[in-house]
């Protein structure tokens, strides 16, 4: 009993630890991430302040302080942070498939999907500690962002961030599984990045999208990535809206995980491991 538990949990703890260590070995690259994320946040703030002062629509949705808070927060938790984290996650897994290194994953007593999630959780936690948290502190100190709207909102923000991470990993995993069957996943990858930027909330707050697009965005998984957690942090969701937003997020997290499982079950018997 204890043994079965050890055997089924320890592999993923080990994977998390080892990946976290690898990130530490590459900490210089994460430092560059901080600088880039910092600069983007500063630029986005100026840009959106300019848009804000010029547009009445934007003014009715946000005060200028709220605008800044949203834009800066969305950069802090930007799960799609262009650059290191993202590249490491998806390209790492894809190049393992292309080089046949994935054989080494398949000879270990580990579930492929859980192992990927464990790896990505390590990259995410490392990024959160080394990039996200310092940025949050700096921007909190200069007063560009407020504290969470209330302690409850603070806690729900973390719950929502966890779901956001699961949704992101679910999307990554689908792409990785597709990479087993197709050597042209880069197109899909590009499409994902574009959709995520536009519909995720890191480029434009979803609330500002025009009607039809807003309707589409609010049912897609992408808004769960950035928009929902930031909206909760800022206290703009409450009551039934808040519950609904969390439900949609966790629903997508579960749906994507199950879809990943099913597609893997289909792909697995057809896996060809290249080379030697």
């Amino acid at each position: 009993m204890v043994r079965a538990l050890r055997e089924s949990v320890l592999p993923y703890v080990g994977t998390w630890l080892a990946t976290f260590r690898s990130c530490w070995a590459l900490r210089m690259e994460f430092l560059i991430s901080i600088v880039v994320a910092f600069l983007i946040a500063v630029i986005m703030r100026s840009l959106w302040l300019a848009i804000h002062s010029a547009s009445e629509t934007v003014q009715t949705a946000f005060t200028d302080r709220e605008m800044v808070s949203y834009v800066v927060m969305s950069q802090i938790i930007n799960l799609a942070r262009i650059g290191h984290t993202n590249r490491r996650i998806v390209y790492g897994a894809m190049s393992r498939i292309a080089r046949g290194q994935v054989a080494m994953d398949l000879i270990r007593p580990q579930v492929f999907q859980l192992t990927r999630y464990a790896e990505w959780l390590a990259v995410f936690t490392f990024d959160a500690l080394v990039v996200g948290l310092p940025l949050w502190l700096v921007f909190r100190l200069v007063g560009w962002i407020p504290n969470p709207a209330s302690p409850v909102h603070g806690i729900l923000f973390i719950v929502s961030l966890a779901a956001a991470w699961l949704v992101m990993s679910g999307i990554h995993y689908l792409i990785v599984v597709i990479a087993f069957r197709s050597t042209n996943v880069f197109g899909i990858q590009m499409a994902r990045v574009a959709l995520q930027e536009v519909l995720g909330g890191s480029l434009i707050p979803i609330a500002l999208l025009p009607g039809a697009l807003l309707a589409i965005a609010s049912v897609l998984p992408f808004q769960a990535l950035v928009f929902t957690p930031v909206w909760i942090y800022l206290g703009r969701f409450s009551g039934a809206d808040l519950a609904r937003a969390l439900l949609v997020q966790w629903g997508w997290a579960a749906l994507l995980a199950v879809a990943g499982m099913l597609i893997w079950a289909y792909v697995r018997p057809r896996v060809v491991v290249f080379g030697g």
Partner: protein, 336 residues
């Protein structure tokens, strides 16, 4: 005795996309891809008993890696079946994985950016190895493979031979009952190859580990694998005692030398007279005596050659695997 591995009537066909010929071939291939079937394995059968060290021998493209990937549960066969420790390795991949280890010459267990000790730490978790077991096995592997100085050095700075020793340690860390090694000696020098052979013999003896070692080099299996399974183009060519294979199908060697500018003709005609069964030719400026039937004859001919003034650069070439295969097919199987 219950066999550790049973391969019965195994076949595997890969489907590969083929580029059409011609100037716009790439475009036509994109629009209507054309596929070819590649038969990698054809009705292959053999068994491996507990504690055996078996050499899976074959030239490049023979189907060694395909066999091992199927045995490891990584890919599915097209026909026939395998059973590993009584299980279907593909269906019961995770249970199977706990009891097997593997080294693939072209791939790595090790995390590139970290020292090997961290990869071993990961494997300790992956196989849920208790601390005492881990320490004991690690101590054994460290001494047998001479890992002492390597454990804390970043993997990217290890030489190929050093890295391979760590790869092998990684495969044996959880005391697997069965280990596959797919061309682990590729690119290694003789000394390193021998070290690996010695290690396999020792660990298998000590822990009763069953080992399947694949290679295209006959010298890798000598003194390591009492038994070999020889495959060619996906089919079984020989299964049995390595000594028998060498004795019956791998006797002929060849000798190469640089001849002196004077007195060569005399030497050659002397050899032709005393050893009429051999073949004599000039090849790339060297004089080659082939079809030398056995080691005694090698000694004799070598003595004659070296007693001639000006003969230099003598080299004896061991039998080539390709010739062994031709021989084995020509004469059928030892046990029918």
């Amino acid at each position: 005795m219950e066999e550790t591995v049973r391969v019965s009537g195994l076949s595997k066909t890969y489907r590969a996309e083929r580029r059409r010929p011609g100037r716009f071939g790439w475009l036509r291939s994109f629009l209507t891809p054309e596929y070819v079937d590649i038969q990698a394995l054809e009705d292959l059968s053999f068994e491996v008993l507990p504690g055996e060290i078996v050499g899976l021998l074959g030239p490049n493209g023979a189907g060694k890696s395909t066999t091992i990937k199927i045995l490891a549960g990584i890919i599915l066969p097209t026909g026939g079946g395998v059973s590993v420790l009584g299980r279907d390795p593909h269906k019961q991949r995770i249970e199977n994985a706990r009891e097997i280890g593997a080294v693939f010459g072209q791939r790595s267990h090790l995390i590139f950016d970290l020292p090997p000790i961290d990869s071993f730490g990961l494997l300790r978790h992956v196989y849920a190895i208790g601390k005492d077991d881990y320490d004991r096995q690690m101590a054994l592997l460290t001494s047998l493979l001479g890992l002492d100085d390597l454990l804390l050095q970043s993997v990217r700075t290890l030489s190929l031979g050093q890295r391979m020793r760590c790869e092998i340690a990684a495969a044996f860390l959880h005391r697997p009952r069965l280990v596959y090694l797919d061309e682990p000696t590729i690119g290694l020098d003789i000394e390193a190859k021998h070290a690996i052979g010695r290690f396999l013999t020792e660990i298998s003896h000590e822990q009763n580990t069953t080992v399947i070692l694949s290679t295209h080099d006959l010298s890798d299996v000598e003194r390591v694998c009492p038994r070999v399974v020889l495959i060619d183009k996906g089919r079984l060519a020989f299964d049995g005692d390595l000594g028998y294979l060498l004795e019956h199908h791998a006797r002929e060697r060849s000798i190469q030398v640089d001849l002196p500018s004077s007195g060569a003709d005399e030497l050659i005609s002397g050899l032709r007279r005393d050893w009429p069964g051999l073949r004599y030719e000039q090849f790339e400026g060297r004089f080659v005596v082939s079809r030398v039937p056995d080691r005694d004859a090698v000694t004799e001919v070598t003595r004659v050659l070296l007693s001639t003034d000006g003969v230099r650069n003598l080299r004896v070439a061991e039998p080539r695997l390709e010739d062994v295969i031709v021989n084995a097919f020509r004469s059928g199987f030892p046990d029918g």
